[in-house]
């Protein structure tokens, strides 16, 4: 959903996010919704600037969000408060799951299919009865004994029981699954008073139905957990039951970490993905293009088009060298062999497998988990290129770093050769930002950057150009990926800046014969006649001179508020995904108040206030003819809105796409002051753990580390701090690092505001100022008192606003689905006092 669509919400649940502080511009629309009468709810371990503007604030212990959301799901199901007319036809609530499926209640805290040896799940028992439900999610192919059974989906619809009586239907499974998540259990596990919880569940239920909708806004407070993906799933299940997807003012809004993080997911800086959500090929699984396409293509639903997108991508990258005979250059693509995310990379550096690294737009010494191990890793490199606008900690760890100040290493022991390259800031380069609502917005270059600074595009382009020159004469096969790569962007001016619009045109796609820009992804082909650098973005530059991301035509007061003339939202400039669900199964709006798109019987097409996310002329009454094989969109009936799903329905139960269970279950954070009150399994069994020296974890309810710790950001600083700690006017606003401590704990330890305190974990210790505040409160968890401490993680030794790096405390553990760390919930100790510093250069 668009941030500005929040004004249409009747209830907004902000959870796993401190929206007012970290997304103040988007929060504008929450405030506007409030003025229109919406109820604003904030659920968070800390009372923040977001809570101050809410109607209901509920405290919870960090990392217990699934217990809370599971509680809401149970509340809706048991009190029959869900939106039946929506959820029954639009979700897989009535679908029958394989008989062998078992949930953690029945199975020692695990789902059925657990393979202890491989530390992962076999997903056979999670499937729709008699068929395999494939997924196009990168790195998430469905792990079953007979993947061929996915073609069953082209032969018949999944078996369903509309009466919801079948014990194996999703509805019954969910009722059993969440039965234990009573308000009493919610209070016992999360620490949120039962009354507050019920008030929130009621507010969500009250604002659902034909006339009303609600939105959920989350951010890194959900993603930074070993159960992060499942927290978001839990919210999605709630929204599915309440009928809040694809409708005005409804949805789950992922507030991204900073500007254009959405863009760097779409055109990814991630190891497991190619542009716009195609899987990065795996060496073992995808030896040829044919196997890749066979494995990754979902036979039913929109993802059937995957081959067109993949072949067009290869044509964009390898141009004339990509031919049908050479698999369009597929063999030149790098293949992955495992988890190549930041954590394994850190260890590979320490172990000497990785010799060099480019750090671009990141300050990994401050932002990376277990900051001491990160620095050890960097110290193991031969060379390191840091591109930034300031001399960040990542570039100076060798002389001012933690290893030096703690006396573990001396600068002369570190042989890493470091190249600090000055980087241009946004006003000094042309390009686009993509924000959370998938809105791609162009910005022009205003001035040249100071000194030798260049844009990242310029840097990468000229590096690639020089590499190509170096390899031009090579006849080695291994050098082909560089030699065959197209790199034909025109350059501008004396600095030979590559033309960003040319890159955007390549992303949009063109026909290879005459290099004419394509109008959108529907024009893409799998025969090499089209090239496209990111299929989902296609259409943003539909013809020469028409860069839609530049457009700034806002709706006036009489417009419909979708602002279609303001930049370009992928796909196809639609503002609300799955908006077919804004109409009932017959194609009529659920209500006048909540209308968005509808079926125009006379015209025989979908129309309305947004660009329909559907086959334009597919009538609501269309049903697949199951007497013959049905593929692609033919297999999706005219009343199934979720076209990217192989059955066209929202997956409350996910047979594939997640590695740690088809439904969420509350697992404690890997480090926690509490035992799991729900199951025998304490923490996410599938979580990625790394047993390394310097990465030791605390016991459950460890007496040496008794306090719950959460790390977070402040409005005043930008992530790892480079653009704000180095600027006096923002640095003065939050000039030093600090830890927020509830008064009850402070009194126990004799700590007052501004006192120095030391926070410690098995990974390391940091000293910081104390901020004693009522905004944090002791929580009663399972009968005993738990103190939650908070510490912002922006700080380091560089710039004007300084302090110890909070991530010295954190450990390297990760969510199994996305390799995301758990900096939002861990345990620590706290004492009054300071640390002794060894290095003279560091203030004692």
């Amino acid at each position: 959903m668009s941030q500005w669509d929040l004004v249409n919400s009747d209830v907004i649940l902000v959870m796993g996010s401190n929206m007012a502080e970290n997304h103040p511009i988007a929060f504008r629309f929450v405030v506007e919704a409030k003025q229109r009468g919406a109820t604003i709810i904030h659920v968070d371990p800390r009372f923040t600037r977001t809570s101050a503007l809410a109607d209901i604030y509920a405290p919870i212990r960090s990392g217990t969000d699934i217990a809370f959301l599971g509680g809401i799901v149970r509340y809706l199901l048991e009190n029959d408060l869900w939106f039946r007319e929506y959820a029954l036809p639009y979700t897989n609530l009535s679908t029958i799951i394989e008989d062998g499926f078992q949930a953690p209640e029945e199975f020692d805290g695990l789902f059925s299919g657990w393979d202890e040896e491989k530390h992962s799940y076999k997903m056979d028992s999670w499937q729709y009865e008699g068929m395999v439900v494939p997924t196009a999610n990168a790195d998430h192919s469905v792990e079953v004994s007979d993947p061929e059974k996915k073609h069953e989906m082209t032969k018949r619809p999944p078996r369903r029981d509309e009466t919801l009586q079948d014990p194996n239907c999703v509805y019954q499974i969910m009722r059993r699954r969440f039965a234990a998540y009573t308000p009493e259990m919610v209070e016992r596990v999360t620490g949120c008073p039962k009354e507050s919880f019920v008030k929130i569940a009621e507010a969500m239920a009250k604002n659902s139905g034909r006339e009303r909708t609600g939105a959920v806004c989350y951010a890194l407070g959900w993603t930074h957990h070993t159960t992060g993906s499942q927290m978001i799933r839990a919210a999605t299940i709630m929204q599915g039951l309440l009928g809040n997807m694809g409708r005005p003012g409804g949805g789950v809004l992922a507030l991204r970490g900073h500007c254009s993080i959405q863009g760097s997911t779409d055109i990814p800086t991630l190891y497991e993905m190619l542009p716009t959500y195609l899987a990065q090929p795996k060496a073992a699984k995808h030896p040829t293009l044919e196997t890749y396409l066979e494995e990754e293509t979902v036979p039913t639903g929109w993802w059937t088009n995957l081959p067109k997108y993949m072949v067009s991508l290869l044509k964009a990258w390898y141009g004339e060298h990509a031919t049908k005979e050479n698999e369009f250059g597929y063999q030149w693509l790098p293949k992955i062999v495992g988890d190549h995310s930041q954590f394994p990379m850190t260890f590979a550096m320490t172990d000497g497998f990785m010799r060099g690294m480019f750090v671009i737009g990141q300050n990994t010494v401050v932002g990376g988990m277990n900051a001491k191990l990160v620095q050890k890793g960097l110290a193991g490199l031969d060379w390191l290129v840091v591109r930034d606008s300031h001399e960040v900690e990542t570039a100076t760890f060798w002389k001012k770093g933690t290893l030096i100040s703690e006396g573990e290493m001396k600068p002369e022991d570190i042989a890493t050769e470091i190249f600090l390259m000055p980087a241009s800031l946004p006003g000094e380069k042309a390009g686009t930002f993509t924000n959370t609502q998938r809105l791609v917005q162009w910005h022009d270059k205003v001035v040249d950057g100071p000194g030798d600074s260049r844009s990242d595009l310029s840097f990468v382009f000229h590096l690639a150009r020089r590499l190509k020159e170096l390899y031009a004469e090579s006849t080695e096969k291994r050098d082909e990926p560089i030699r065959k790569l197209t790199l034909d962007y025109p350059v501008i001016g004396p600095l030979e800046d590559p033309d960003s619009e040319a890159v955007l045109q390549e992303i949009n796609g063109y026909t290879t014969a005459d290099r004419k820009l394509v109008s959108g992804f529907k024009a893409l082909k799998d025969d090499g006649s089209t090239a496209c650098g990111g299929w989902a973005y296609s259409g943003l530059f539909p013809e020469e001179g028409k860069n839609l991301t530049r457009s700034r035509k806002a709706d006036g007061p009489d417009g419909n508020g979708a602002h279609h003339g303001w930049a370009f939202a992928w796909p196809s400039n639609r503002r609300t995904l799955y908006n077919r669900a804004s109409a009932d199964p017959e194609g009529k709006p659920w209500s006048e108040r909540k209308k968005m798109i509808w079926w125009d019987e006379a015209e025989g097409k979908w129309t309305g206030l947004d660009i329909p996310d559907y086959v334009e002329d597919k009538a609501p009454g269309y049903r697949p003819d199951w007497s013959k094989e049905q593929t692609g969109m033919d297999a999706i009936s005219g009343s199934d809105p979720f076209i990217m799903m192989p059955d066209g329905r929202m997956a409350l139960f996910t047979p594939a796409g997640l590695k740690d269970g088809p439904l969420p279950a509350h697992y404690e954070p890997v480090e926690t002051p509490a035992k799991n009150a729900f199951y025998k399994a304490q923490s996410n069994p599938a979580a990625k753990r790394f047993h390394r020296k310097g990465n030791a974890l605390h016991e459950v309810a460890d007496k040496q580390y008794p306090y719950a710790l959460t790390t977070y950001r402040l409005t005043e600083h930008h992530t790892a701090g480079a653009p704000t700690r180095g600027v006096p006017t923002t640095a003065e606003l939050q000039p030093e690092s600090f830890a927020e401590i509830p008064p009850e704990l402070a009194e126990k330890l004799g700590v007052r505001t501004l006192d120095w305190v030391v926070l410690s974990t098995k990974r390391g210790e940091v000293e910081t100022r104390a901020m004693v505040t009522e905004r944090l409160r002791p929580l009663t968890i399972d009968g005993s008192t738990v103190y939650e401490i908070g510490m912002p993680w922006h700080f380091g030794w560089a710039g004007y606003a300084t302090g110890d790096i909070a991530n010295i405390l954190t450990s390297i553990v990760a969510d199994p689905n996305v390799s995301m760390h758990e900096a939002k919930a861990l345990t620590c100790n706290l004492r009054k006092g300071r640390l002794r510093r060894h290095h003279e250069g560091v203030e004692a």
Partner: protein, 317 residues
């Protein structure tokens, strides 16, 4: 160039290819091309108000919409090129700039008053953690202006109060004259400094930097009468929603506009006592105290003279 929002021109719908008549015409002037000139009277677009000399402008700061992001502080310092202060952490909630000064012309106050027992049913908009962006009030009867012997302080054509840096001689009379403690001498140049309500921007048709940067419209810029009307509606609305403690500070007859100040060009909507935000409950113009003080002084002198006459005349006897 100044057609109303709802004036549909045929070319609007044609070039936009979308909802007819729903666009501000100016929006269309600057869409697909590089903006290479200043937009005349940009304030129309950003604040919905045309800036013309001779009219009365001000700020309406609605504290109940403030999220304490301090964008106003930073925007103010960036536009006016004010230096940051090296003060370090204050320990006073999230307030580290501590107050208005010669180099901080917008300042966000933070007041924590968390009532932990009742956070599941809070007043609409701001509660438990008050945030308020303070600024020079640009008083209608500005005491600083009255105290200024050089004429450096003057009332502008926009009904705001500004210090002319080239005339100020640094006498500092304005500093104690200000009942709000706003005006401050800068130690580096010895002159008085304070918010100019972005005098230079107003002249260029630009909304003041703080108001433009405010993401939630807690700071609203406009013609004073419009702002006052808007503010009264807002108070009524808040009262209807159960926030009965909302009131205006600095409007005629309200707290803050006492002691002969009449009204503040920059006024506020508050939800707690003025002192909680660091504002005086009943500020007064020092000049109002001149007459009684003079009277007392004269009376004292007169009675002393009388006593002297009496004593001396007695001696002669």
């Amino acid at each position: 160039m100044t057609e109303a929002w709802d004036t549909a021109k045929p070319w609007i719908s044609k070039s936009a290819g979308m909802i007819e008549g729903s666009l501000h015409p100016r929006v269309l002037d600057y869409t697909d091309s590089f903006i290479d000139e200043v937009i005349p009277n940009e304030s129309e677009l950003t604040a919905g108000v045309t800036i013309e000399p001779g009219k009365s402008y001000g700020f309406f700061t609605d504290t109940t919409l403030c999220i304490g992001c301090k964008a106003c502080e930073v925007a103010c310092k960036e536009w006016n090129q004010l230096p940051a202060e090296e003060q370090g952490m204050s320990g006073m909630s999230y307030d580290n700039t501590r107050g208005l000064s010669s180099s901080t012309w917008r300042h966000v106050t933070f007041v924590e008053k968390v009532d932990r027992e009742h956070t599941d049913d809070m007043q609409p908009f701001q509660s438990n953690w008050l945030m308020m962006s303070d600024v020079c009030k640009h008083c209608a009867n500005a005491p600083c202006l009255e105290a200024c012997p050089t004429g450096a302080l003057f009332r502008t054509e926009f009904d705001t109060v500004v210090v002319q840096q080239d005339i100020c001689n640094g006498c500092g009379y304005c500093v104690p004259a200000c009942p709000f403690g706003v005006v401050d001498l800068d130690m580096s140049d010895g002159k008085a400094h304070k918010c100019t309500l972005c005098y230079d921007r107003l002249k260029g048709g630009l909304e003041p930097a703080c108001a433009k940067s405010c993401p939630t419209d807690s700071i609203q810029f406009g013609e004073w009468d419009d702002l006052y009307e808007r503010a009264q509606e807002r108070v009524e609305d808040l009262h209807e929603r159960g926030a009965t403690n909302a009131y205006l500070y600095g409007t005629p007859g309200a707290p803050g506009a006492t002691g002969g100040l009449e009204r503040l060009q920059a006024f506020f909507l508050l939800s707690d006592r003025p002192e909680v935000y660091g504002l005086p409950a009943a500020p007064t113009r020092p000049s109002r105290r001149v007459a009684p003080a003079l009277g007392t002084g004269l009376a004292t002198a007169a009675s002393l003279a009388l006593a002297a006459i009496f004593l001396f005349s007695g001696k002669r006897r």
